[in-house]
Amino acid sequence: MKTLLNISVAALILAGGAYLYAEDDYEEHEHRSSSVVAKPMTKQDKTTMALYQKECGACHIAYQPEFLPKRSWDKTMNTLDSHFGTNASLDPADHKTIQNYLATHASRNDRMTGMGGEIAMRISETPNFKREHREVAQKMVTQAEVKSFANCAACHTKAASGSYREREIRIPNYGSWE
């Protein structure tokens, strides 16, 4: 049952990749074409994906690697014992597998233009993200049910499966966005 669940989550994520930042033409194309010629996932790929989901999805949703480039993920992976005020360290074997997984699926776009050379560790601090969310009022984010922009799933009801379509948005105490 658990494996079945992981596989379907994996499939959803692959499919969901197409919904990340619709205006991001390059990656959009990338996802579309990869879902057309989708190579079936090997058993190894599935195990790796399940490991990522479990380990990086224990405290928040397992963020889709496509939201940040490799150098962001590398910085995160190199500072896990002090990860946003908590300790998220892994054993060496899992650490290596996850770092490789993130690197393979990372965004090919830099996503940090205009950040003055800083390496974004938060998806929510990238200019792309800020532009997408500029109309979302601060009080919708800071309320107890959401806490911060890091809590994607509080508003994007299908975030964990990689889908961010507007009609799936439900903001606690405010309702749908459309």
Binding site: C59, H60, F84, G85, T86, L90, D91, N151
Partner: protein, 135 residues
Amino acid sequence: MKYLAIVAMFSMSLMAASPEVVQYMKELETAAKTENRSFSGFDAARGKEIFTSTHTGKQGKPMACTSCHTLNLANPGKNALTGKVIDPLSPSTNPQRLTSTKEVTKWLRRNFMDVYAREGTAQEKGDVLTYIMKN
């Protein structure tokens, strides 16, 4: 025969942890004896105190194990840092708990840092696991 089955059931419920984790507890016991010469076994009451008392955590703010796991271990908790729901910690409610030493050591390392801003001692880990097993 009936009697035997009852005895077996009784000792299983006493353990409430997989053989792997029971083995880990034995290692903690050995380590606790080295740490503290007067150590005389793990204690659920001390474990409860560890679990329910508030300390200055890694973030410099008041924090307790119960901040995320709640006072009733049979209930789901909520991660105080991220808001994500946490499945119950009680092994009798959630049979997956305390079945993997890898999981247990990983979370005790992280969670003692969260609450105590340091790693737990062998005795503290053994006490708190003994408390969790009884709930």
